[in-house]
Every structure is written in C-alpha cells, then in structure tokens.
C-alpha cells in the first residue's frame, strides 16, 4: 500500500522546503544593520513572551484569543506529533490519540477562523488570508483521517478496501494543501509566515524592556558620527539601513489591521495606514511590488504602484514621504499591535533620512527646525524673552537659589499666551501648596521633542546635552512639567547622553505631582459644579508613560464623575498635535482634532479636561459650538480653597 512511503516522504519534503525557506528568509533579515541582542536568552524567553505579553494583547479580543489559542496551539502540538507519528513512524496509540485530539482542537479553532472570515471587518487583509482557514481545515482533516489507522480506530487495510485510489488521492491532496500552507508557506512568505517570523521577533525584539509588563517608548539616539563615515547615512534610506531585528519585526505582521482601526491619520483620510506601511517594508526587504497587498490602501493612494528592494531608497517608489509625515507618533498602533511591532520607530528612522540627509521636511518643518537651532524655541522668539510670561509671578530662579526641592520645567508653553494660562494656574497651585520650587528661566531650552520627531536628531541631541549641562549645575530631587512631551523627553530620552544630571531625580507630569499634593492634603479643593466633564488622555502622558490614573483621581477629588469617551485610557485618540504633525500639516479629508471633539461631544460633556498644552491648542482650534477645553491645573485653580479667605469666612459665621 502506497501510504507507507508516500506520506512520510511528503512530510519530509515539506519540512525540508520549509527549512530552505527559513534560511532564505533569515538571510533577508540579516541584510539589516547589526543590533545587540542576546540570542540565546531571547529564544529561551520566547515561549513565555508568547504566552504572556503577546497573549495579553490578543486577549483584549476574547473571541480572537480563544480562536487563536485553539488553532495555533492545536497546530503546534499537531506538527510535533506528526513528526513523531508519521515521519519517524513511532508506533504508539497514545501518541496517535494525542495527535487526533490536537487535530480536533485545531479543527474547531479553524472553524471559528472560518466564521470570522465570512464577513470580515474592513481592517482585515483579504487575499491569501481568506484561504488560510480552509488550509487549516484541510490540514486538520487530512491528517486526522491519516492518523485514524495508527490510533487503531480503523484497520490498516481500511483505506485500500473502501475508498481505494480515490480516497488516497483526496487525502494526499488535502495533506499537500495543508502542508503547503502551514509548513512551506510559513517560510516562503504565505500568511503563516507570521508564526515563524513572529516567534523569532518575540525572541529578538529591539525593545526587550517591553516584555513582562515593562514600557519602552523613548526613541533610540542616532549615531551622528555616521555622517562623516565613508558610505555612512543618517537615518534609514534603504530597507537594509534598518536594524536586522526591525526587518524581522515587519515580517511578523499578521495584517489584522488593529493599527489601521486606531490610527488617527488613517481615520482623517491622510495618506497613512500603519498596516500598509509595515507591508511596504516587507515588500522592501524582500523586493517586489505591493500588487498582492489585499488590505485597505493609504487613503488617496492606489495600491499596486509601489516598488522596492532591499537596496533601493524607500521614498523613491516604495512609499510617499507624505505617508511618513502624516504620523502623529501617538503610538496607538504600537499599543494595539498583537505582534508588538514598532511602527513609530520605523517612521522616525525614515524621517531622519528625509530631514538630515535630504533636507526635505515639508511645509513649516524647515523653518521650525531653523528657529530651534537659532533660538532654542520653535517660533524664533528672542531667547531672552522666555520668562516674560512670569514677569508678575516672582518665580525663584535656579541661577539665584542653586537648589530647590522641585524644578518646574516651564517648556515652550512660556511663549504661547494660551499655554501661559496653564503655567500661571500651576504656579498658583504650587504656591498654595507651599512647594519649594524654582525655574531655570532663560537657561531652559526647548526640550527637543519636536526636532526629534521631525527627524532632526542632531538638533535634539544638541538641545538635550545643553539642557543636561544646565541641569547638572543645580540641586533638586524632582522635575515637574505641565508638558507631557517635555516630560517624556526628560524622563525617557535624556538618559542616553551619559549625563548624571538626572541621577536620583524623579520626573513628574504636573497631574501626577498635583495628585500627590491633593492626596496629602496640601491643597484644599471645593467640589466642582459645572456640568459634565470628560477627560482626554494625552498620548505622551498615557501610552508613552502609562499615566492614566492620576489625572482621573484629581478630577474625582473635586467630585467630578468623569464621562469617559469611547476611546479613552490606552485607547485614547490623539488630538493631532504630536510628532510635528501640525507643522508638516499633510492634508486629509478631516482634521484629527475635529474627530476627537466629536468623541467628546458624544459624551455630552460641557468641559473637556486636558493635561497637555498641545492638546489644549488642538482641541480649542475646533470651531464652536463645542465643549470648553481646560487643563486640569486650570480646573483645580478654580476650585482652590484659599486658606485665608476660608478663615475669614469661619470668623463671620
């Protein structure tokens, strides 16, 4: 009977082809730049990362997490047992029964995948992905029947007796189809590639700190000495300029489109779709065109015309620069990605090339960068006018006092009249709580956030080093700032420059700091009476730094019951103001700030509480009628109980 040699041979061939494909694929990744990763430790940690870190994200969608656990778990177990039972020919009824059970599990999982694909949401890629559930079913059914004799359910002769040649042919076809998709396709670029690349991506991830519930959001500094090296290039020009594990990460994409569904630029009709971007990177690393891409396009750009290769300039044909400049760096895509792919890193890497090599930052980008370089603030104001906003505030200067408990990092809000209201409110609160604080005054410079997100890492590093040099002159144990962008830079990005100025210094966002003051009882607050309030999470406070609770607790401490928006917390939608997006200003069909205000309107709120001057500016830019927009510091000041006035009031009583 022909099964005895045919099917083991087929399995062996499929596995051999899979190995060849794997070697080829690994070579494509290794064309990238070296990166320091502990390979062994990564591989050892990989199963744990799959079961915890990755599964935790998939678990947000219970249907999918169960489906995937059944299908994926069933498949991995089946593959191992198939090798034992059918390839090595181990004659054990227990193994055969175990194989039948795992195939059954896989079959049930595949049915749910099939059901999901009957009426798929628009974010999901179609094309080859539509045949995946059928391939899974073919694999499960084919091997199930093939394993029946080994399990002793049917006698060995059953096949030839009953079905004869026809059954053999059908069974063989099912097995070839199943293995073609699941073994061969895994390493030759089919939908199952996600399992192979994804597992290795988890092992060799560029931000190992993210596993085990950690957070790693600071951009990696660019080695500026590359500028004068022979053949050196700043940023990423070609796919091979990415680190090798970034290329691996792109290959891990399952095209689930969770990123697409949360991307504010995509929703606004700007030419960005994070999923397509990652797929274009895959086209780039493997060479070819995007003709086979079967998901949503970049809004306004037709699919099929993008071509790329490992050594071709990405922005020459693979993707339009406007795609890169549409990103607000809000990290919603990264937060949502079940494969933990780092979209924002890739986008900023490519922006670095456009800004630092090509000098093609769009619209006001060049002007803003010139201003930052010449005046240390984005609008080109005289550096000596940085403290004009506080002419009436009598703020202690670090230059005079040399030390204080708290350093108040004012940020460039100092130059903006709307932001100055937030700054004044915060100063009033600090004074009311009798906090020992000081400011840097004219010695403070722009934190470098905008320059860095616009791809000018040279200017960012210059500012960071000069700021650190100033900070190192003074003694303080805390830095507090009202600007989440400065907060992120100081807390997460200034540590890469070999300065000990921030050693032992805690950096706080003002809402966190104010919350601790309120909880300690240093600030007395009246209950807030002013209608419904909703809270907008700033990206750089929430997703970048994990602070969702302090602002809410502050609002609750004034007796406010927050009417949460549909997109809030880690799913908060960007105001459109991050990543230099208002500066590069790529046209779309809608404005991101308008969409965010619609979210607020749906709650029926009369007041949107915000913790970021950039969000304040963006949301207040929405035409009226709309809810009021106020920073939490401003709301607090309105409810502040003046201890002296209170005393008087009591005497009167």
């Amino acid at each position: 009977m022909i099964f005895e040699w045919l099917h083991p041979l087929l399995i062996a061939t499929a596995l051999l082809l899979a190995v060849i494909g794997a070697v080829r694929r690994v070579k494509l990744w290794r064309a990238g730049q070296p990166d320091q990763v502990d390979l062994m430790a990564g591989l050892m940690a990989m199963p744990g990362r799959y079961l915890h870190d990755l599964h935790d994200i998939v678990e947000r969608d219970k249907y999918m997490s169960r489906t995937h656990a059944a299908t994926g778990g069933g498949f991995v177990l089946s593959a191992l047992l198939i090798m034992l039972v059918h390839l090595l020919g181990i004659d054990s009824q227990i193994l055969a029964w175990a194989l039948l059970a795992s195939l059954a599990l896989m079959f049930v999982g595949a049915l749910f995948v099939f059901k999901r694909r009957l009426n798929p949401p628009s974010r999901i890629s179609k094309g080859p992905w539509m045949r995946l559930p059928k391939s899974l079913l073919a694999f499960a059914v084919g091997f199930f029947v093939l394993t029946l004799p080994a399990a002793g359910v049917l006698s060995d002769g059953f096949m030839s007796q009953v079905g004869g040649v026809l059954l053999t042919l059908v069974l063989t076809a099912l097995i070839i189809w199943g293995m073609g998709e699941l073994f061969f396709g895994m390493t030759w670029g089919g939908p199952m590639k996600h399992a192979f690349a994804g597992a290795l991506h988890l092992a060799f991830h560029r931000r190992q700190e993210r596993f085990g519930g950690g957070r790693s959001t600071g951009l990696k500094p660019l080695d500026l000495s590359l500028a004068t090296e022979v053949g050196g290039v700043l940023g990423v020009a070609k796919p091979t300029d990415f680190k090798w594990n970034q290329l691996l990460g792109f290959d891990a994409c399952v095209q689930c489109g969770k990123c697409e569904a949360v991307c504010p630029a995509f929703a606004a009709g700007q030419p960005l779709n994070p999923k397509k971007l990652i797929q274009d990177m895959v086209v780039g690393l493997a060479g070819g065109s995007d003709a086979k891409y079967a998901g949503s396009p970049y809004p306004g750009i037709e699919v099929g015309n993008a071509k790329g290769g490992p050594n071709q300039i990405i922005t020459d044909g693979l993707l339009a620069p406007e795609t890169l400049w549409s990103c607000t760096t809000c990290r919603a895509c990264v937060e949502e990605c079940p494969m933990m792919i780092e979209h924002v890193d890739a986008i900023v890497d490519m922006r670095r090339f456009l800004t630092m090599e090509k000098g093609s930052t769009p619209n006001k980008g060049a002007e803003v960068l010139d201003n930052i370089i010449a005046t240390d603030n984005p609008n080109g104001y005289a550096p000596a006018s940085r403290t004009h906003w506080a002419a009436d505030q009598n703020l202690p200067l670090m230059r005079d006092v040399k030390q204080a408990e708290v350093l108040f990092w004012v940020s460039d809000g100092a130059f903006d009249m709307r932001s100055q209201r937030i700054l004044r409110a915060f100063v009033k609160l600090l004074k009311a709580a009798k906090v020992d604080f000081a400011v840097l005054g004219d010695e403070e410079l722009d934190c470098g956030d905008v320059a860095r997100r616009l791809g000018d890492d040279a200017t960012f590093q210059n500012l960071a080093k000069r700021n650190l040099a100033v900070l190192s002159q003074y003694k303080f144990s805390k830095i507090v700032t009202t600007d989440p962008h400065a907060y992120h830079c100081l807390r997460n990005e200034y540590n890469d420059f070999g300065s000990d100025a921030l050693n032992g210094v805690e950096v706080f966002h003002h809402t966190t700091f104010l919350n601790s003051l309120v909880q300690q009882g240093s600030l007395q607050l009246d209950p807030f009476i002013g209608g419904k309030v909703t809270y907008h999470d700033p990206c750089y406070l929430g997703r970048y730094n994990g602070e969702y609770e302090a602002p809410r607790e502050l609002l609750r401490s004034m007796g406010i019951e927050i009417a949460e928006m549909e997109r809030s917390g880690f799913r908060s939608r960007c105001c459109g103001g991050g990543g230099g997006a208002p500066i590069t200003d790529i046209p779309g069909e809608r404005r991101i700030a308008d969409m965010r205000m619609e979210d607020a309107n749906e709650t029926g709120a009369e007041l949107v509480a915000v913790g970021c001057q950039q969000c304040t500016a963006m949301l207040e830019g929405v035409v009226e009628p709309r809810p009021q927009v106020k920073d939490i510091a401003e709301i607090l000041v309105g409810q502040l109980v003046d201890p002296t006035a209170n005393g008087l009031a009591k005497e009167v009583h």
Binding site: L224, K358, G359, T361, D370, T375, A382, P383, A458, T459
Partner: protein, 265 residues
C-alpha cells in the same frame, strides 16, 4: 528660470557669516543663502555646478549650514579677521572667470555696509544689478534679470555677462539645510594675504539702538476733536516742496531740518 544649457555658466556665490536677529547667534545669512539657492537652481543641470566662496575663517560653524543645502565643497579664502576682503575676493573672481557673481544685499554681521558688491564690480569693471529677485534666463551672453522693487513690483533688466547681482529677500527661499551634507562638505582653504582695513580698526563698535519714536501729543480739547484725530487720515503737516530753488538752498533746507530735529549737532 530657464538657463540656456548650451553654454556653460560659471556661477560664484559669495557667502558671509549671518547673525540671527533675535538671538544674535551665527547662522547662514538670509540673503546669502537665497543667493546660494539661486546659484544652485541656475547651475542645476551642470556638472561642475556652483562655486561658493567665503573670505574669512574656514572653521566658522555657520559655513556648515550653507554646505547643508547640498554643497560638496566651500572655497574659503583664509584671511586675518581685521583684513579687508575686497581685494583678495576681486583677485579670486578675476582669476576664476566667473560669469555671474551672486551676493547678498548686505551682510548681517561685521560692517554690513552693503558696499562689497559695488566695490567688487568697480574693481572688476563689471555691471552690478542690485536687489535681484530672480534670474529668468541667460541667452547668448545676456541675462534677463528681475529686480525687486517695493510693494512686490518687479523690474525686468537685461545685463551682459559677466555681472554681479546682489540678491534681495524677495528671491526664492533658501532650501533646508540638512545635517548630513553639512558635515560632509569639504572646506577648500586658500591662505591669502590682504591689507589690514586700517580705517575700520579706528572705529568704535556699539550695539545699534532703535530710533526713538516721537510721542504723540494729544492736543484735542473736546471729544469731537479727539474723535477727529483718531479717525482722520494722518496727513503730513509742515514740510515744503522745493522745486524751483537752487541746489544750495535745497541743501540748506535739509541741513536746517536735520539740526532742528537734533540729528546733527
């Protein structure tokens, strides 16, 4: 701007050290970088491209921000800071066989008299076209140039090569300066000897002060007068139009006014 590609144009742009009006920090000067931009556009289709020339210190950091516009090299005539740059620049331009020399209207730092292009033109015996907004075409040794006039007006001028053009702020904006090319550009240094600018050495430099504004004294006594003063078009009062008088009388009138206003003492 359609430069005739059949003839090879040799374009030289002179650049100086700029100074940011708000921070006082060195930078690429606004007009000079527009001159580099125009030079780059004119020489875009030519292999040897544009020559950018600076007289001064080759280690001056602001030169890098010109280089960031995509220059492979900047030629620097290394001079003593106290030296007069006109003679060595004239010498260099004479030898280089340049067709068009582009400069800013006036430098943002140093003397900033705006005299350099005129002195060079005089020295070389070339024409000078001041305040140029654009060079439209160069055909058969004649360039069609647009001069910038107040209120966005333009004057088309034809000028025979070679000539010097000082570039106005109305010229196209300079392209972005990128960090990578800026770091890579070569500084080709030629050490030159030049006469010390003795006249300038005797000068005393001080920060310029804004001219004081005359206070508006409200003479109106009644609301109606105040209303009229606030709404009426300001008409220049006083003053005289002198057309018939002799040049001597006219000059005397100007002198009297200057003394009266306290400009001259």
């Amino acid at each position: 701007m359609q430069p005739n590609s059949s003839q090879k144009l040799k374009i030289v742009t002179l650049v100086s050290v700029g100074k940011h009006p708000q921070s006082g920090r060195v930078r690429r000067a606004d007009q000079d970088s527009r001159a580099v931009e125009l030079g780059l556009r004119l020489s875009a289709d030519q292999a040897d491209g544009l020559v950018v020339l600076h007289a001064g210190d080759p280690n001056e950091p602001s030169l890098r921000s010109y280089a960031g516009m995509g220059l492979t090299a900047i030629n620097v005539l290394q001079l003593d800071p106290a030296a007069d740059a006109v003679a060595p620049l004239g010498e260099q331009l004479h030898q280089s066989g340049a067709d068009i020399v582009l400069t800013g209207v006036r430098a943002e730092s140093g003397e900033g008299s705006g005299m350099l292009p005129y002195q060079l033109a005089e020295k070389l015996g070339w024409s000078i076209v001041p305040r140029v907004a654009d060079i439209v075409s160069v055909k058969e040794g004649v360039a069609e140039v647009l001069q910038a006039l107040p209120r966005g007006q333009r004057r088309a001028v034809k000028v025979r090569l070679p000539f010097i053009a000082s570039i106005d702020t109305a010229a196209p904006m300079a392209r972005q300066s990128a960090f990578g090319p800026a770091q890579r550009a070569a500084m080709t240094v030629t050490v030159v000897n030049a006469e010390t600018d003795t006249l300038r050495q005797s000068w005393h430099e001080a920060v310029a002060k804004k001219r004081p504004k005359r206070l508006k004294v409200i003479k109106a006594k009644t609301a109606a007068e105040r209303f009229k003063a606030a709404t009426a078009k300001s008409q220049s009062e006083g003053g005289r139009i002198m057309k018939q008088e002799s040049a001597g009388e006219q000059a005397q009138a100007i002198l009297d006014l200057l003394v009266e206003e306290g400009v001259l003492r």
